[in-house]
Amino acid sequence: MFWYIARRLLQAIPVVLGSTLLIYAMVFLQPGDPIRALFGERGAPDAVVEQLRNQYNLDQPFLIQWLLFLKGAIVGDLGQSFSGRPVADMIGEAFPVTVQLAMMALVFEAVLGVIAGTVAGLRKGKLFDSSMLVTSLVVIAVPIFVFGFLLQLVFGVKLDWFPATVGGNASFYNLLLPAIVLGSVSFAYVLRLTRTSVARNMSADHVRTARAKGLTEGLVVRRHVLRNSLIPTVTFLGADLGALMAGAIVTEGIFNIPGIGNLVFRAIVLGESPTVVSVVTVMVLVYVVTSLIVDILYAWLDPRIRYA
């Protein structure tokens, strides 16, 4: 197991390097000068521009910039934003907010999705199943920014049950509505995955055996159906944490949440490469770590899978 984890982490190194290089290339290859753009119409003295370009390593060739960024990143220095704040500090502030939001969304979609999916799978073709299926299709088909906007309008503005925008105060209660919006599409996927696999497992041989040996229906479902049915769901949920953090760009925009989605979007528009690349690197790391955890969870859920 140790060697398996070590090998997986080694394999992740080229992925992280490659994706930062890719993003760096896309941010860097834009024409125009982000420093001059900062000064707007009136322009700035050449000496100041030169000094700033030097400070942000913008006068170096592209590959050197990337290597300088990596060199800094290893010791925790992610560079500075154009407004002079260390990027590491900005991410340090924004990251916990997005993690909280994404975790709340994940819990919401996992708990409700698995419960609703299991009940629907056990009663395939009945009223509850059909209504859940229709709900999930509607949730998937309506874009998240429309869904989020409507919930904000109804529950935030008209009914005033939740704050319409979060602003600086990212408490559990304030993030509840955004988390439901963020997790809604994945909730539909979790529901559909669980439903299909529960329904399939209900007619599996081992479940028939469990029934034949006289287990109660509750025990059959909990011990023999659910555990097997959860394997695809767990895979999905693990891969989803990264997707939720990326999806936060839209949700955080709608509800004005000071998370990394908002941070990276502003940085992209400004062409602030250190911030963009740092945030993307963080997201790639989240993806790498969660997919490793998922693979380890696999082995726990399905003892037939062994890693050497």
Partner: protein
């Protein structure tokens, strides 16, 4: 074999033999061994024709196609003719959903907006299926260092979240090429989505090829001397395509949503192009300012119905292709 039927047995051990008609043996007996079995595709098509899900999604798809080809059939008003004098006018004859704040016909804009959204979905899916399918087939069939190299490259693109990567790329292109028209705008969005969308298809194709290539009929083809290219193209790929087709159908809908999301963020199609994403984005700021919900409702509903069409179609095809699901 001794006949066991007259052997004495203990009480409670009486054997029960089902009548032949109740078992599936009769169906097996009636098979004609001389007749060639039906091809997988013909069998799938037979199942699809009978599936209500497939029929519903085909009707919806026909509607989408007609609107994309000839939006003028359903409206006489010009989507670009926006008159401020008509701003926020309610529904009237010929304008079933009235006008938005700029005085544009909501219904007409929604119908004409289908083109851009569907074009992005179809072209992105085609590109992703082509690139992902090809690399996946090569990686799965070749194995060894070719597989490792292609897989690591796809990992790099897969690790960056799709919408985030597309935002970065599109904001870069916006600076290089700011005033794009319809096809320029569509091409750029398609390239951005496809560049980071192909690894998913590649992974599915690779897994499917790995499974198929060890089956007996592939060995048989190799044994009678088929070259490895012939083998891959004639025997492995056609039998490995099923999961890719299902994924591609569903992802067509997902790409349409992604385009709308990018346009919503102001980075997708240029604002001069009529598209659902742009219209929804405009409608939201209008609704915030107090306009009636119908300006948001019409384009959102059409977008959702189109996405729904492809999800249902994907479901129908998967059910038809999956022999396990058939039995129930």
């Amino acid at each position: 074999m001794p006949d066991r039927s007259d052997r004495p047995h203990l009480p409670g051990q009486e054997r029960f033999v089902a009548p032949l008609e109740e078992t599936r043996l009769a169906a097996v007996d009636s098979l004609d061994l001389e007749e060639a079995p039906e091809s997988q595709w013909r069998e799938t098509w037979k199942l699809l024709r009978r599936s209500p899900l497939f029929i519903v999604s085909m009707i919806l798809l026909a509607g989408v196609v007609v609107i994309v080809i000839a939006p003028g059939l359903f409206t006489n008003s010009d989507p670009r003719l926006c008159v401020t004098g008509r701003s926020l006018d309610g529904p009237s004859s010929g304008h079933p959903f009235g006008f938005d704040r700029q005085g544009c016909d909501v219904w007409s804009r929604t119908l004409y907006g289908a083109r851009a959204s569907v074009a992005v979905g179809v072209l992105t899916t085609a590109l992703v299926a082509l690139v992902g399918g090809f690399t996946g087939a090569v990686a799965g069939y070749a194995e060894g260092w070719v597989d490792s190299l292609l897989s690591r490259i796809s990992d790099i693109f897969f690790a960056i979240p799709l919408v985030l990567a597309a935002i970065v790329m599109l904001s870069a292109i916006n600076n290089i090429w700011p005033d794009r028209e319809f096809w320029g705008g569509v091409t750029v969005v398609v390239l951005a989505l496809a560049l980071f969308g192909w690894p998913q298809v590649m992974r599915i194709m690779r897994g499917s090829v790995l499974e198929v290539k060890n089956l007996e009929f592939v060995d048989a083809a190799r044994a009678i001397g088929a070259s490895s290219m012939t083998n891959l193209a004639r025997h492995v790929v056609p039998n490995a395509l099923a999961p890719v087709i299902v994924t591609a159908t569903v992802s067509l809908g997902i790409f349409i949503v992604a385009e709308a999301t990018l346009s919503f963020l102001g980075l997708g199609l240029p604002p001069t192009v009529i598209s659902w994403g742009n219209d929804i984005s405009n409608a939201q700021s209008q609704v915030r300012a107090g306009t009636d919900l119908r300006v948001l409702f019409v384009p959102s509903t059409f977008l959702a119905l189109t996405v729904l069409t492809f999800i249902l179609l994907g479901d129908a095809i998967r059910d038809a292709l999956d022999p396990k699901a058939r039995e129930r």
